[in-house]
């Protein structure tokens, strides 16, 4: 029974990692930038989710507000921060992004206070019996459901719509795509919008699970999401998914069985380092 519980816990955690890391993968796939400040958008999503829910009492509304506003902020960040750095070495964008992330965290602390916010009436706290004594809360079910829905929408978007095909063409070769009349700037804006909106959704989900948003909650997300997209093969959407779930499960089992030697984060990274030594190009090829 313990094993099933742990597996479930790992899948829930993995679903959240997947939502955060997907945005990063999309951005990396298009621009080759390791976008650390992505985690700040995740935190902001959590804050907006909690504040709007407390003000209006509606969680779905809060989710939509968080995703749209954070998505727009993602576009602003691309326009002001990354666009001027695109022809520099990727290291420059990485350091700029880290600087931005530190600044964002501080802004959250100054604006929202350092103690964090909680829901006044935590939604979806009730438990469901999955049979055989395996209990799961509604909020965890929602997290898994959200991940599946978002990913299905993304898959549909990228394979069945003109925008999606334009996006894939730009990822493959932006110059040729551009000469075929695709507006590359628009694709990039859309990319940052979708990626950031996914991060915001993940922020709201984490807020639901822990009933707490605090300025530093993005720190864990920032480095672990980087590890996940690297493990997944940098730029591969399928690889990111598999890596996210794998790291979630490794963490939930590892903390129980080898938790006395390594802590949770170290476990995830031990797994990453070993996996990369065996497959230096990540689990899947980019594409």
């Amino acid at each position: 029974m313990l094993a099933l519980d742990l597996l479930l816990q790992g899948v829930v955690q993995g679903a959240i990692y997947a939502l955060i890391a997907l945005g990063l993968t999309l951005i990396y796939g298009l621009l080759r930038i390791l976008h650390v400040a992505h985690a700040a958008l995740f935190t902001l999503g959590g804050y907006i989710g909690v504040i709007v829910t407390n003000e209006t009492g509606s969680l779905p509304l809060a989710l939509i507000v968080a995703m749209v506003s954070v998505g727009l902020l993602g576009i602003v960040i691309y326009r002001l921060a990354y666009k001027p750095l695109l022809d520099q070495s990727p290291l420059v964008a990485l350091i700029a992004s880290i600087g931005l992330f530190i600044a964002f965290e501080e802004v959250f602390r100054l604006v929202f206070g350092s103690y964090g916010l909680s829901f006044e009436n935590p939604p979806l706290r009730t438990q469901v019996n999955l049979g055989g004594g395996l209990l799961i809360s509604h909020s965890k079910l929602l997290v898994i459901g959200m991940a599946i829905i978002m990913l299905s929408i993304l898959a549909w978007l990228s394979t069945r719509t003109r925008t999606g095909i334009a996006w894939k063409a730009t990822v493959t070769d932006s110059q040729i795509a551009s000469s075929f009349g695709i507006n590359i700037e628009r694709v990039r804006y859309l990319n940052f919008f979708i990626g950031s909106a996914l991060a915001a959704a993940a922020g709201v989900m984490v807020a639901l699970l822990t009933n707490l948003v605090e300025p530093t909650m993005g720190a864990v997300a920032s480095y672990k999401a980087l590890a996940i997209i690297v493990l997944g093969g940098l730029g591969s959407v399928r690889g990111t998914l598999v890596a996210a779930i794998a790291i979630g499960i490794v963490e939930s089992f590892g903390t129980v069985y080898v938790g006395h030697i390594l802590d949770r984060d170290a476990l995830a990274f031990a797994f990453l380092v070993i996996a990369l030594m065996i497959r230096p190009q990540g689990l899947f090829k980019a594409g």
Partner: protein, 279 residues
């Protein structure tokens, strides 16, 4: 006077730390997001030895040795993974180090090691040692840069594949860069442990790794003088900002961002283009 001595010691140790990363990232072009782990290894080795009765000056050698040895293994990893993959692997090393130390009772676990003995020759003595180490390391790296090995580093940083085709022994140079760089960080760490006289897992986290990388890049990758200058200034910047305590990290973050945004080649690059404009 005491305050200035402490400030200068902090500067000297940070300069040494940043110059050590400069060998790996600046000269050889291998990005490391986990350099604080080697700083930490040096600090823990140094602290354990002096607590066991060794004098600090003798403890510096094993601190450099252990850090360099583990650096050698990370160097081996750098032969297998490259670019962004390497950056994330080294970041993983940093988390492994912190996560490991946290769970080891004999290393003080979460609480860390306190009551590290003071340096026998007092604060001024420590300052002299730190300055000497930083100066020596700077001299060695300037010499390295001009040597054949420096040329090898440079070619790898520029284009690894071409270097390999030209018959440059890429693995050997990479391993040397990692060993020299991490050993330097080990010495810096041991000095740091005896400077603040308390260390814990949180003293060597990801933020410290990023901070030192920021110093190297803000200074201007590869240039010894510019990196030393950036490290000296950035190490005491938070102290100067003390009067705006609440906003100091905000300003620090924005400053890092602004330098990258408006002068992507760092201070060295900005000076160069300024000089060009004067002509």
């Amino acid at each position: 006077m005491a305050y200035e001595v402490i400030l200068l010691t902090t500067m000297a140790i940070t300069v040494l730390f940043a110059l050590s990363l400069n060998v790996i990232t600046g000269f050889c072009g291998q990005v490391s997001l986990g350099h604080a782990a080697f700083y930490g290894i040096g600090a823990y080795v140094g602290a354990m030895l002096t607590k066991g009765g060794w004098p600090l000056l003798m403890a510096l050698l094993p601190a450099a040795g252990v850090a360099g040895l583990i650096g050698f293994f990370v160097g081996l990893m750098s032969l297998r993974v490259r670019h962004d993959f390497l950056a994330i692997t080294t970041m993983g090393i940093a988390f492994l180090f912190v996560g490991f130390v946290r769970k080891q009772e004999w290393l003080g676990g979460e609480i860390g090691i306190s009551g590290i003995p003071a340096f026998g020759f007092g604060r001024i003595g420590l300052l002299v040692v730190a300055l000497a180490c930083a100066g020596l390391f700077a001299a060695v790296t300037i010499y390295l840069k001009r040597s054949w090995m420096g040329f090898g580093f440079d070619s790898i940083a520029d284009d690894e594949d071409t270097a390999r085709i030209l018959g440059i022994d890429v693995p050997r140079f990479k391993l040397w860069a990692f060993v020299i760089g991490t050993a330097g960080a080990g010495v810096a760490g041991a000095l740091y442990a005896h400077h603040v006289r308390y260390i814990g897992p949180d003293s060597f986290g990801f933020v410290e790794s990023v901070t030192v990388l920021a110093m190297v890049i803000i200074g201007g990758i590869g240039s010894v003088w510019a990196v030393a200058l950036a490290a000296a200034v950035l190490s005491v910047l938070p102290l100067w900002f003390q009067f705006i305590d609440d906003y100091k990290l905000l300003i620090y973050g924005l400053l890092v961002f602004a330098v990258m945004r408006f002068s992507p080649n760092g201070i060295a690059g900005a000076l160069q283009s300024f000089r060009r404009r004067l002509r």
